[in-house]
């Protein structure tokens, strides 16, 4: 491991955040309009002038290339540095890390990172019921997948969950406790897509999707957007009330794929968090709240293990003990996560981490005295991973 990691500790900060609000967006919402709404709010929140933004990092949808150019033109940005990243669900964390590296290299000073999704509206406008029906014909061509009836994202995660249950004795009740706990947090979040509290029994009785997952193990399709402004910490210190310092970050990918080694039940968060913790000069015991990219209930359990909050294989009983709930050892996905707040590809996990360390939430949502938050992005069939350590203080 590089001994120079600590060089970047606390040198950058998230100085503004913005998002679409209200839970479920009207079907007329477009991805561009939602991106613009989130970006305008983030710029205002940061207290910067649009002319100061000279960097832009985005993540487009699967069909779109050079997404950042179109977004930059829409917002009239004069960006020296712009790009779109392609790390699946790790892309939003990777966007912020890319922004830090670009600022560090002197390519830009103030960077807008953003993401928007309008899949739900697209599916319904197209008269379809399932996201998988939007998969273009060109993607359905191929081999070693569809001919065996292997469809949809949830199936990929199901393989890992089955193996985790086999090796460690994790139960469907453990998965249920993840969903119930996160829904409890979401019930206090007016921006969440699903807010009605659920019980373990309701979870277990929900219709089965793809074993071992039932409906409430799977994240929904969500429309919405989020954006953040990244700058050097010295720029941030002028407006300290709204700053979340980036103490550390890491990227690691299980690049040999979901089906290789132990990747299906052990995320690249093992290596990614090690880097981020080392840069930040902390250990898991210093973290006050975690926001984990939870495509399924099983993903929350695996990352609690991979980030060192419990031993590998003990994530199920750890959650079922109440460790991730309010007042627990590590309150996790405190806005509801992908499962209940909604799947804006992890951008809202970052916003939640920022708001917790700013301590800007109303009392019913605030983790008391939250100083340090860890955030993950996990995607590309669980191959790509990124970690952020945010802090109320610069060191």
């Amino acid at each position: 491991m590089s001994t120079t990691l600590s060089r970047s500790r606390g040198r950058f900060a998230i100085i503004g955040v913005g998002n679409t609000e209200g839970g479920v967006m009207p079907l007329s919402s477009t991805g561009d309009a939602m991106f613009a709404e989130a970006a305008i709010k983030a710029i205002k929140d940061a207290g910067v002038d649009k002319a100061e933004i000279n960097g832009l990092v985005t993540h487009g949808t699967e069909e779109e290339r050079v997404h950042h150019q179109r977004i930059g033109a829409m917002l009239g940005l004069d960006a020296n540095f712009s790009t779109s990243v392609d790390n699946g669900g790790a892309s939003q964390v990777a966007s912020i890390i890319t922004a830090c590296m670009a600022i560090d290299a002197g390519l830009c000073d103030v960077v807008l990172c953003g993401y928007s999704a309008d899949y739900r509206a697209k599916i319904q406008r197209a008269g379809k019921k399932q996201a998988v029906q939007l998969v273009p014909e060109s993607m359905l061509a191929g081999q070693f997948r569809y001919e065996f009836g292997y469809f949809g994202e949830m199936a990929s995660y199901a393989f890992g969950a089955t193996r985790h249950m086999h090796l460690f004795g994790t139960t469907r009740e453990d998965f249920a406790n993840v969903a119930v706990t996160q829904r409890d947090y979401a019930s206090r979040n007016p921006n969440a897509q699903y807010r009605k509290p659920i019980t373990v029994e309701e979870h277990l009785n929900a219709r089965q999707i793809v074993d071992p997952f039932g409906l409430l193990d799977c994240c929904p399709v969500t429309d919405g957007a989020g954006a953040v402004i990244v700058a050097r910490a010295d720029r941030a210190q002028n407006i300290a009330k709204k700053t979340a310092y980036i103490l550390g970050y890491g990227i690691a990918n299980n690049i040999d794929g979901l089906f290789a080694g132990n990747n299906m039940f052990q995320t690249a968060g093992v290596a990614s968090s090690k880097t981020a913790y080392e840069m930040a000069g902390i250990t898991a015991s210093d973290v006050d709240t975690a926001q984990f990219y939870d495509t399924t209930t099983a993903q929350t359990i695996m990352q609690l293990e991979d980030y060192g909050f419990c031993k590998k294989g003990e994530g199920g009983p750890f959650v079922s003990s109440g460790a991730t709930g309010p007042g627990g050892i590590i309150p996790t996905n405190t806005a509801g996560g992908l499962l209940s707040e909604g799947h804006v590809a992890g951008m809202w996990h970052i916003l939640e981490g920022v708001r917790q360390v700013r301590q800007s939430h109303p009392p019913e949502r605030q983790i008391p005295n939250a100083e340090i938050a860890v955030i993950s992005g996990n995607g590309g069939n669980s191959v790509c991973h990124g970690s952020l350590v945010l802090s109320r203080n610069p060191s």
């Binding site: 399932q130 569809y146 001919e147 009836g149 089965q208 999707i209 793809v210 040999d256």
Partner: protein
């Protein structure tokens, strides 16, 4: 014979020999001529040593279920009569892992680690799919 209505694989230049062998009811993988590593899915280059020299070799057809899932919902009309069906990652005894189906068993009886052996299902004149059924350990 009824018309085959499920998705069919689209062979590539790299994978055509695999599908040709399946048509002859032989399960094959590439093996590197230099470091001897067996690999799947098919690629031009060995991921272990980057050698581009390899040959196709018949596998024993024996392996075990590394993990699996049961589909209970229909995502493609071709599978309407199949649900519930098992999609599994098979670890061949020679090492490579291969996505397939476990057939000839109640889906609720499939477990990780269970021994399986290949069987072949003819889909069309061109395509025969390698599937797996329970085997003696």
């Amino acid at each position: 014979m009824n018309e085959y209505t499920k998705p069919l694989p689209t062979p590539t230049a790299d994978s055509q020999p695999f599908w040709d062998a399946c048509r002859d009811e032989k399960l094959t993988c590439q093996r590197c001529d230099d470091c001897k590593t067996a690999r799947f899915p098919p690629h031009h280059v060995c991921p272990n040593c980057l050698s581009v020299n390899s040959h196709w070799e018949e596998m024993s057809g024996k392996g075990s279920v590394f993990s699996f899932t049961v589909f209970r919902r229909v995502y493609d009309p071709g599978f309407a009569d199949e649900v519930p069906y098992v999609v599994a990652l098979i670890e061949l005894e020679e090492g490579p892992r291969m996505l397939s189906n476990v057939v000839s068993i109640d889906p609720d009886k499939v477990v990780c680690g269970m021994p399986v052996k290949v069987v072949f299902e003819k889909a069309t004149q061109e395509i025969t799919l390698p599937k797996f059924e329970p085997a003696e350990s």
